[in-house]
Symmetry: C2
Subunit: 378 residues, 2 copies
């Protein structure tokens, strides 16, 4: 085996058999990475440079990539059968169809990503392989990915802790009057210096700017008496972090400090509530009721999510929202992120941590810094 195999093989086999698929055709960056082990960075910057990882339940597999990415793919992937197409001369969908025919899978029940594969490419594939039966397999592969292997858990833990420290260091260095952008830049720099290969997101807003769900940090200076919040993440060898922290500037009104303590209590009790068998909707309802118990107004459409590989599709099932019927399982890695908006007094607070679901309760993976009190920039 040349490259790495990170996927949860027994779970993949079980799900493939349950879905009755002869093979599954995966095209999204996260699923190609997860199933092939190869990270093809241009998949994410050149939409037409398609890559396909095709696997049976028994891991008979073929990997179709642009010839420009062939040497890297052979080195990084555990799949020995790598085939390449010449960009713009051959159509990637034709190369995929040839591979499927050679494998004898062209009359089978084939899974595909209905929520990713572009309509035009799918049409081409259907025409090239008229005898195949195409079955949306988005939810199946997401469910496979949701239960992490022990090695994956360690990667998520490392990503989370590094990101926490990156945020904490930026807060410690910051002074009133610094711009939001300078603090946000420092967080991103810290994540890179801590080993991140790329950044997925980092948004820092203070005062009224923090009220937008995903504010763009600008030249706004940190102003005493205000609070702010950051939501940052990066990729570490394909494994992502996604954490939020709140911060105050100078002397902060007591009602803001009080709201922070209440929000953190809500977060911790919700994390404790994560148990195998409980659904995303049940966790959502628990959190919503915890807001009520703490006397804070609740206005969130979701309060957390599973954590995925790569940054292209970061929220993964189970999502903690009112419509999620997916039950938690041991081995899932879940972010809990209660958010509090006070539109009247114009401030917002956010805290997000990463937890591993186990049979004995949740274990917080983002445990490198102490978030009991609101950190104050002075």
């Amino acid at each position: 085996m040349a490259g790495q195999r990170i996927m949860n093989v027994p779970r993949f086999r079980e799900h493939m058999e349950r879905a009755g698929l002869n093979a599954v055709v995966l095209a999204s960056p996260e699923n190609v990475f997860y199933t092939s082990g190869a990270m093809i960075t241009t998949q994410r910057s050149l939409r037409d440079r398609l890559a396909f990882s095709v696997l049976t339940a028994g891991l008979d597999a073929v990997f179709v990539v642009c010839n420009i990415e062939e040497s890297l793919s052979r080195k990084a992937s555990w799949i020995p059968d790598v085939r390449s197409y010449v960009e713009r001369k051959e159509h990637p969908v034709d190369a995929l169809a040839s591979a499927l025919r050679e494998k004898g899978w062209e009359r089978g029940r084939l899974g595909y990503e209905a929520r990713f594969l572009p309509a035009g490419q799918f049409e081409g594939l259907r025409q090239a392989l008229p005898q195949a039966t195409w079955v949306p397999a988005d939810d199946m592969i997401i469910s496979v990915r949701a239960v992490k292997t022990p090695e994956e858990v360690e990667r998520f833990r490392n990503a989370a802790r590094t990101t926490e420290r990156a945020i904490q260091d930026a807060f410690v260095r910051a002074r009133p009057g610094d711009t939001e952008k300078s603090v946000n830049d420092r967080i991103m720099i810290n994540m890179l210096e801590g080993g991140a290969d790329s950044l997925t997101h980092s948004v820092f807003g203070t005062g009224e700017n923090a009220l937008h769900a995903h504010a763009v940090p600008g030249s706004h200076p940190l102003t005493p008496g205000t609070v702010g919040r950051v939501d940052s993440g990066a990729e570490f060898g394909g494994y992502t972090s996604d954490l939020a922290r709140s911060v105050g500037v100078g002397k902060v009104p007591d009602y803001m400090l009080d709201a922070y303590k209440r929000l953190r209590a809500i977060e911790r009790s919700t994390i404790e509530f994560l148990r195998p068998g409980r659904t995303g909707a049940e966790v959502f309802t628990f959190c919503k009721e915890a807001f009520a118990r703490q006397g804070l107004k609740f206005a969130m459409p979701h309060i957390g999510h599973g954590l995925a590989v790569l940054g292209g599709e970061m929220h993964e099932e189970p999502n903690l929202h009112p419509y999620c019927k997916v039950p938690l399982e041991a081995g899932m890695v879940i972010d809990v992120e209660p958010f509090y908006w006070d539109w009247d007094r114009k401030f917002a607070l956010h805290i997000e941590d990463t937890a591993l679901v186990t049979d004995k309760g949740a274990v917080i993976l983002s445990d490198a810094t102490n978030t009991e009190e609101l950190f104050l920039i002075t």
Copy 2:
């Protein structure tokens, strides 16, 4: 008008009329940003959080976004008619279909992005609006975007110059023995400190690691006598940079220095060849012949590309490859990037600059640093 309007309005109108479209439905991050002016960062990290910018030739427009992104969208976009859906409760495609019906466009000829819109979403849209005629509009909107407004040119120039300086500074600071990753991190940090909002890519490889088209920079130390190459880019207010530079470590063999000089001569003569009316294929052929004139082996599938907004789809038509029939026009911003692999002697060189096509010839926008000689890390 609340937010910014960056698009090339006369060209959009002309292309919409030529295509005979009643409206065009845009869903990809780059086209939503280009036509609405709003950058919705979660469009790129949450695939199912769809946003749609729908416009007629006369700029009657509607903007459909997730309610979480509504306040930001209203602030950032020039489109006054913003409609929102509640994630997971309502399907974004249903919200789009309602908006199209209310506008009376549901029986029209509607453009869509066949190479972006996922097959499942397109199927939902077709079922919701059975009387519409759907026409792939990917190439049309790419052609609109290809001719930049003067303001866009300034944004690309600023992005290019900042990126050049970021690379140059990292090379100046580097010492033999430093790791590839540390140099690459410095480049990324410099781009952020120079004003980048996010990074699109940065790959730095030396010695044999440089032979992969998109190497992952690792703990490999810079070794005297080798050459390396970096390809970096970032987003500055949605406008991207994409530049490559080569570098030597310590005392470098003369044949490497000589190959660099030849490669740069090839690059400059190809940039000079960029003139309105010449096709991407003609520029490719010129460059290929320039390799032959310089006595360097040529193995590139493409030698450059138009530069797009955002980093999700960075190569834009006209692409400089053998099959590109798109003629250059004044106002296009083109990257020229000859790459030289020497598989026998195991080294690679790359140089990429950004140029504006004008009626009087090409103007190099990435002109902040001098690339005449190979920079040497000592």
